[in-house]
Symmetry: C2
Subunit: 203 residues, 2 copies
């Protein structure tokens, strides 16, 4: 098989990866991660099975790379001018990602219960996203929206966002369009009362 010269950034390697990951997304959308096989992905992507085995090894490797690719997207946290606005907008993005059908976010969480490799990639992605969101808390502190002193930015961000995942992913509740604003508001009120300040909230 002879490939024509490839002028796209990254060349053939990047192109094959894009084809394979597109195929993983399409297979996930059709059959969830339980229907995912290296053979099915290779066929859909139009690449040799051995190429997929060599580079991704197994379904866990494909899922882990799909999660890594999600982390490579140039995502930025919202910047609305207020902590409550930023957290509400963030929660609305999260609710959308969890309720769109098919939801890759939910498929990847499900997969990460079954593949150590996917689980590690998922943990790295969460870590990266929460680290990126810490600027939301720093900006709020700069605007004087938080009590003086250090704030546990991660604790505040998890308090604001965890109810969304809990309701949609674990409890499988019908999506509540008011939950993004409510969970954000509760976290902001707790933060204003010192729940995430150094020494605060646990006294």
């Amino acid at each position: 098989m002879t490939d024509p010269p490839d002028r796209r950034p990254g060349g053939r390697t990047a192109r094959v990866r894009a084809q394979v990951l597109d195929a993983v997304r399409a297979e996930l959308a059709e059959g969830g991660h339980e229907g995912l096989t290296v053979e099915g992905v290779a066929t859909r992507a139009g690449v040799h099975r051995t190429t997929v085995y060599r580079r991704w090894r197994d379904v866990g490797g494909l899922l882990a790379d799909l999660i890594s690719a999600a982390g490579e997207i140039d995502w930025q946290p919202p910047d609305t001018g207020s902590l409550r606005g930023d957290l509400t907008a963030l929660n609305e993005e999260i609710l959308e990602s969890l309720t769109v059908r098919p939801s890759f976010a939910v498929a990847l969480m499900a997969a990460s219960f079954h593949s150590e490799q996917a689980a590690r990639a998922q943990t790295r992605l969460w870590e990266d996203r929460y680290a990126q969101c810490e600027v939301v808390v720093a900006r709020a502190a700069g605007r004087g929206e938080l009590p003086p002193g250090d704030t546990d930015a991660r604790g505040l961000l998890i308090a604001a966002t965890a109810p969304l995942y809990h309701a949609s992913v674990l409890m499988r509740a019908d999506p509540d369009p008011r939950l993004p604003a409510r969970a954000a508001a509760a976290a902001v009120l707790a933060a204003a009362a010192g729940a995430f300040s150094a020494g605060g909230g646990t006294a």
Copy 2:
């Protein structure tokens, strides 16, 4: 096969169920839910395979019944005398259930991504447990710990507990022994500031 007369409450049917569910727990502990088979459970329980197929049909049926059995335990929410104390104690129970190895709670959550029947049983169990916990909020209101007027008890309970599940189950973080008290304190501060009061928190 002739069974001797059974004098235990519920008789043979209850005994077979107890044997089978014990076997499901043991198989889950050894191999997670992915290694679970009707044959393996029947062999370990010492009952005929056809008995298991007739009564539970498949692995999803076994998992759903195991979750139902968890709901039959005579569980009561903590009653420590303060909202913060109750929510902290509740969170400590949750953290323990999520971090003990093997964790049936985590195995059942993982399984519920793969069996509709297990997922429905899991949703019912969450619903029951949160409904049972509403008394914690009612007692706090009775003690004057919450703003006057109606409180969204479910919203408050989810705000208090969701960070535990988020950190342990979804982010797979190392268990943080301070998180039960911190998440409880944050929810109590938000509640005191009106986050879960009628019309509060979203203005």
